[in-house]
C-alpha cells in the first residue's frame, strides 16, 4: 500500500501542493478569466472577449513600456554578462586582494532595488550629481542629464541595474572558471594560445551551462523590474521609463482599471513562458539524451 506508506509525506507536502495549485496556477487562471471582462474598480463577470487586449495594444503607454523592457532587458543582460564575465576572469588571475575585490563587486547585490534606485538617483542628479562634479573640475562640456532626458532615462536604469547585478554573474562565472580542469590550461599554454583567446574561444564555450543559467535568471528578473524604476525615475520623465510591471500596478491600484491590469499581466506571464519554454525544453531534451546514452 504505497499510498498509505507515504501518507506522512503527502501530509507534509500538502501546503506546497495547495499553494502551487491555488496561488501559482489558480491566480493565473483567475487573472486570465478576469482579463476577458470589463472590470473597473472591482472584478465583475461582464465578459467582453479580448477587448481589453485590443485596447492594451492600442495604448501608447503600453508601447513605451514594451519598448523599455526590451531596451532594459537587452542592455542589462548583455551588460551584466560582459562585466560579470570580465570581472570573473580578472579575479581568476591569481591577483592580490582577491577576496577584497570579490566583496566589492558583489556588495551591491545585497542591497535592495529601492536603495539602488535612490542612490543612483542622487549620483545622477542633474543639478548636484556627477555632472556638476565634472563641471567643477573644468569639463564644462560634460553632460549627464540622463534622468531628465526622455530618450536616455532608461539607460540610467540600466546602469543602476548592472551595478547591482554584475556581481551575481561574476560569482556564477567564477564558480565555473574554478571548475575548469588544470590540464586544459596546460595544453593551451603548450599550444601557445594567447590568454585572452583561450578565455574567449575555449573557456567561454565550456561555461555555456553557467551562461545559460545566468541569462535565464536575469531574463526572468527583467520582466519583474518594478521597484528599481519606481525609486530611480518613478517611470518618468512623463512615462518615458514606464515598464509593463508598472503599467499593471498602476491599473490595479491607482487607476482602478482591473481589466486592463489583468490583460497586461497575462501578457507579462506569456512573455516569461516564452523565455522559459526554450530553456526548459533544451534542459529536458538534453537530459533525456544523456539519459539515453
Amino acid at each position: 500500500m504505497p499510498l498509505f506508506r507515504n501518507i506522512a509525506s503527502i501530509i507534509a507536502l500538502l501546503p506546497m501542493i495547495i499553494i502551487s495549485l491555488t496561488v501559482f496556477v489558480g491566480c493565473i487562471i483567475y487573472s486570465f478569466i478576469y482579463s476577458l471582462t470589463n472590470s473597473k474598480l472591482i472584478p465583475v463577470t461582464n465578459f467582453v472577449g479580448f477587448d481589453q487586449y485590443e485596447r492594451l495594444f492600442k495604448q501608447r503607454k503600453w508601447d513605451v513600456a514594451v519598448e523599455n523592457i526590451f531596451i532594459y532587458g537587452f542592455v542589462f543582460t548583455i551588460g551584466c554578462l560582459i562585466i560579470g564575465f570580465l570581472l570573473a576572469v580578472l579575479i581568476d588571475q591569481k591577483i592580490r586582494g582577491e577576496s577584497l575585490f570579490r566583496t566589492i563587486f558583489l556588495y551591491p547585490y545585497a542591497m535592495s532595488f529601492v536603495v539602488t534606485g535612490l542612490v543612483w538617483k542622487w549620483v545622477l542628479n542633474p543639478t548636484f550629481g556627477l555632472e556638476n562634479s565634472m563641471h567643477m573640475w573644468g569639463f564644462s562640456w560634460f553632460e549627464l542629464d540622463w534622468l531628465v532626458n526622455r530618450d536616455l532615462a532608461i539607460y540610467a536604469v540600466c546602469i543602476a541595474a548592472v551595478w547591482q547585478g554584475a556581481g551575481f554573474v561574476m560569482v556564477l562565472m567564477l564558480a565555473g572558471l574554478r571548475g575548469i580542469d588544470e590540464d586544459i590550461w596546460k595544453s593551451l599554454s603548450i599550444e601557445g594560445v594567447a590568454k585572452w583567446k583561450s578565455y574567449l574561444f575555449v573557456i567561454l564555450p565550456m561555461l555555456r551551462p553557467m551562461v545559460v543559467t545566468a541569462i535565464v535568471l536575469i531574463a526572468a528578473g527583467v520582466v519583474k523590474v518594478y521597484d528599481l524604476i519606481l525609486a530611480l525615475t518613478s517611470g518618468g520623465p512623463g512615462y518615458a521609463t514606464t515598464t509593463p510591471a508598472m503599467y499593471v500596478m498602476e491599473n490595479f491600484f491607482s487607476r482602478a482599471n482591473l481589466g486592463q491590469a489583468f490583460a497586461a499581466s497575462i501578457i507579462m506571464f506569456i512573455s516569461v513562458v516564452c523565455i522559459l519554454a526554450p530553456w526548459a525544453f533544451y534542459e529536458f531534451y538534453l537530459r533525456n539524451k544523456y539519459a539515453a546514452n
Binding site: 504505497p2 507515504n6 506522512a8 509525506s9 503527502i10 507534509a12 507536502l13 501546503p15 506546497m16 499553494i19 502551487s20 495549485l21 496561488v23 501559482f24 496556477v25 491566480c27 493565473i28 487573472s31 570581472l87 588571475q93 591569481k94 591577483i95 582577491e98 570579490r102 566583496t103 566589492i104 563587486f105 556588495y107 551591491p108 547585490y109 545585497a110 542591497m111 535592495s112 532595488f113 536603495v115 538617483k121 542622487w122 549620483v123 542628479n125 548636484f128 550629481g129 556638476n132 562634479s133 567643477m136 573640475w137 560569482v171 556564477l172 574554478r178 543559467t213 526572468a220 520582466v223 519583474k224 518594478y226 525609486a231 510591471a245 489583468f262 497586461a264 499581466s265 506571464f269 516569461v272
Partner: protein, 293 residues
Amino acid sequence: MSSIPSGPRPKYLTVGRIGMYCFILVCALFFLMPLYVMVITSLKDMDEIRAANILNLPKELSFYSWPKAWSQACTGFVCEGLKPGFFNSIKITVPSVIVSVGLSAINGYALAFWRFKGAYFFFGLCMFGAFIPYQVMVYPLLKIEDALGIYSTLPGIILVHTIFGMPILTLIFRNFYVSLPIDLFKAARIDGGNFIKIFLYVIIPMSAPITIVAVILQVTGIWNDFLLGLVFAGRDNQPMTVQLNNIVQVDYGVAEYNVDMSATILTSLVPLFVYFISGRWFVRGIAAGAIKG
C-alpha cells in the same frame, strides 16, 4: 573549487599585469562610488551639498541627518522617520524566515526521501511559480487573503513571503538532502524511524550548512522586498523599504539629500551586515539558488 590562489606567485609585474590591476581598480572604484557618495552625503549639511562637489569629502562633519532620518523624517503627514519601518521589517522578516525555511526544509526532506507518485509533478509546479511575475499574482492573492481575513495584516504578509520564498528554498533543501548518503536514511528506516523521527533526529542535525544558506537568502530577500510589503503588509506594518521610498519621494518641502542618504544607508544596514558577516555563505546561497538540480 578552492578560491585561495594556488601555484607560484608571479615573480615580477609585467606590463599586462599592471594594466590588469589598473583596470580592476577602476572597476572597484565604480562599484564603490555610490556607497562612498551615500556615506559622505549623509555627513554633510545642506549648504555644503548645494555648494560643493558631490565627490568631495565633507569639510565639516555633520551628524544631524542621522537622527532625523531615524526618527523625524516625514512620510506624508506622519513624521516618525524610519524607526517604525525598521521594527516592522523585523516583525515581518523574523517570522517569515522561520516559517518559510522550516516549511521548505520539510518539503525538501519529503521530496528527497519520501517520494510518492505525483510528488515531482507538484514540485515542478512549485518551481514554475518562482518564475511567474508577481504582478500576475498580486491581485488574485490579495482577494484570497481578503477572503481569509488576513489581508493587510502581519500574518498576511508573512504568508505571502512564505509562498514566494518556497520554490527556491524547497529546491535548495531538496538538492542538499539528495546529496546526503542514502544509506544513512536506510539505516534509520531499519531502526524503525518514521517520517517525523528521522527528520528530527537524523536530518535536522545535518542540515546546519544549508539552513544557514537558506536563512541568509531569506533575510536579505525579505528585508529588501518592496512590492509585497507595499501591497500586503497594510499601513500599520509597512516595511522599511516602503517607508524609505515614501520619505525620499515626498513631493513637497525642500529635499534634504543628506537625510535621504542617511535613510538609504539605514535601510541597507541589515542586508549589508548579513553580507559582510556571512561572506562565503552568501556566495554559496547564490550558487545554491542558481544551480538547478
